[in-house]
């Protein structure tokens, strides 16, 4: 007993010198530094070389700097959307966009929650800012003349898109062709959602619909 006491007492300064236990000393600091440098390099590389493909963001996410800077990819806006119009960006367009929310007008469209904007309310970091459907735009509806059935030779579509548009942005011109009023369209996606062209299970080559909401540059 006595002897053991002595030994531990002698060892004590050594233990105190070592300070930190296994794996918690200089090695840990170096590991952390490597990770910190890795984060900066990885972030820089994805910004510099990554194809930052433009995507449609939920309402209020159109200020790119603000959206990219603040979004922590927490999934709350996607989960909050009552019409399932918000999807998740995958890895395929580029790792930098992984898990960011995108508008997915195959699954639903944006009815602006009658002004309640649940996605904006749910966003905890302010990546989605206030959105005015009469001024701001999620995107812009663009008619695909190759796909829209009103542009074909026969022109047989009963144009559900025109009825679906709550913003009176769609109309037929004198030739019976579909046209978009760019002032009124706010990219809500209702037209794309109801378009019968290339609806699910239509394995069409272009996979585009007769009218598609595309990224809008003011």
């Amino acid at each position: 007993m006595e002897k053991r006491e002595e030994r531990t007492a002698a060892e004590a300064p050594k233990a105190a010198e070592a300070g930190q236990g296994p794996g918690l000393s200089r090695r840990s600091l170096i590991g952390g530094a490597v990770m910190a440098a890795g984060l900066v390099a990885f972030g820089g590389a994805t910004v510099a070389f990554g194809d930052e493909t433009e995507q449609l963001r939920p309402p209020g996410g159109q200020d790119a700097d603000r959206f990219w800077g603040a979004c922590i990819r927490c999934d709350r806006c996607r989960a909050a959307c009552p019409l399932a119009a918000i999807g998740v960006e995958g890895l395929t367009p580029g790792i930098i966009g992984a898990r960011l929310p995108i508008m997915d007008f195959r699954e639903g469209y944006c009815d602006m929650c009658d002004g309640a904007f649940r996605c904006i309310a749910a966003c905890p970091t302010g990546a989605l800012t206030a959105f005015d459907p009469y001024v701001d735009k999620i995107g812009m509806a663009v008619v695909d003349e190759a796909e829209c059935q009103l542009y074909g030779i026969s022109g047989t579509c009963n144009a559900p898109c025109i009825d679906a548009c709550e913003w009176d942005a769609l109309s037929l011109d004198e030739n019976g062709r579909l046209v978009v009023d760019e002032k009124r369209c706010n990219g809500c996606g209702a037209c794309e959602y109801v378009c019968p062209t290339s609806a699910y299970r239509n394995y069409d080559a272009s996979n585009k619909r007769g009218i598609n909401v595309e990224v809008w540059h003011g």
Binding site: A16, A70, A79
Partner: protein, 330 residues
């Protein structure tokens, strides 16, 4: 490296107490992260919008990962009142319960345990025992010195629970450097870089990808890549939680000022009161802390409230609230 040492000083005290109330708490805790994860996934599938651990809440009332909130402030370079308020709430929570998130909620420690082989688990155990050995060294050094007039001669020091509180701050280690890197990279690159590789976020992202596959017929690369990143982080960057996790570092900084729910030692019950150099609690602690005297390799501020020390204590002397202490020591 890790010498194969035996807990000479703790050996004389049985480390196997009978199944009591405390070990039950410790056992229940093991299931809590899984239950939290399952509840959040149910909320996800049911469309409640409760969110992930990155942000949990209902509608506009939500908690946010404090690191994510900080990163987004740095990334956007804008003052967002909401993020600041949320940060304050998170800080208050840490002041109250310390780093309890790490052992009660975070899905990564159980995942790490699942991924590590028998060999690694044994190495971890050996490391804990060695850490306890360091504690007995310091304990002996402390007993042989009359430096601090607080203790009577021949007495070994107890926890700072008895009013003589010299707060010991957590030491800077790799996690803090990683934390700095997370914030700097967010500021430089203009987006929260760490969120992209955060294993906690990726655990949920994997679940979401699986849900999108089943529910929306959306097969993605994510389903393979996300789990691979998690596995790479936990196997290549070993001891992720202790050496790399910036969330742990951030919470630890605030936990330095937490006292409320730290393990408290009943000085009447602790075997160290009459000089027994018992280190059973230190050997049980997965965070390399010495709950009884704060003589461990890591400071008491790093405590994650897992309760394993209390479950292991042969004298049942460890409590997390003042209530449990014997009358005279409250």
């Amino acid at each position: 490296m890790a010498k194969s040492t035996t807990p000479e000083n703790g050996a004389e005290v049985s480390a196997q107490p009978e199944e009591g109330r405390r070990s039950k708490v410790s056992r229940v805790r093991r299931y809590v992260p899984g239950i939290v994860f399952a509840l959040l996934i149910i909320g996800l599938v049911a469309g409640i919008g409760s969110g992930t651990l990155c942000s949990v809440g209902y509608e506009s009332i939500a908690a946010v990962c404090p690191l994510g909130a900080l990163e987004s402030l740095f990334g956007a370079g804008a003052f967002v009142a909401r993020a600041v308020i949320i940060l304050a709430v998170a800080a208050a929570a840490v002041l109250l319960v310390g780093k309890a998130f790490c052992s009660w909620v975070c899905p990564i420690p159980p995942l790490d345990r699942f991924l590590s082989g028998k060999k690694r688990r044994e190495a971890d155990k050996a490391a804990r025992i060695e850490a306890a050995h360091h504690v007995s060294g310091r304990l002996a050094a402390c007993a042989g010195c009359a430096g601090c007039g607080e203790k009577k001669p021949g007495e070994t020091p107890l926890a700072p629970a008895d009013g003589t509180d010299k707060r010991r701050f957590a030491k800077v280690d790799g996690r803090h450097v990683a934390l700095g890197g997370s914030l700097v990279s967010a500021a430089i690159c203009g987006f929260p870089v760490f969120c992209l590789i955060c294993p906690v976020g990726l655990t949920f992202a994997t679940a979401i990808a699986l849900y999108r596959l089943v529910g929306f017929n959306e097969p993605t690369l994510d389903l393979i890549v996300f789990p691979l990143i998690i596995v790479a982080e936990l196997t290549l960057l070993r001891k992720w939680c202790h050496r790399f996790c910036p969330i742990s570092a951030l919470m630890g900084l605030v936990a330095n000022f937490n006292k409320a729910t730290r393990p408290k030692i009943d000085p009447d019950l602790c075997l160290r009161k009459d000089g027994t150099p018992c280190t059973v609690c230190a050997a049980a602690c997965p965070e390399f802390i010495d709950p009884a005297g704060d003589l461990g390799d890591r400071a008491l501020a790093e405590c994650t409230r897992c309760g394993q020390c209390a479950a292991a204590c042969p004298a049942d002397a460890i409590r997390f609230t003042k209530k449990g202490l014997t009358r005279g020591n409250r």
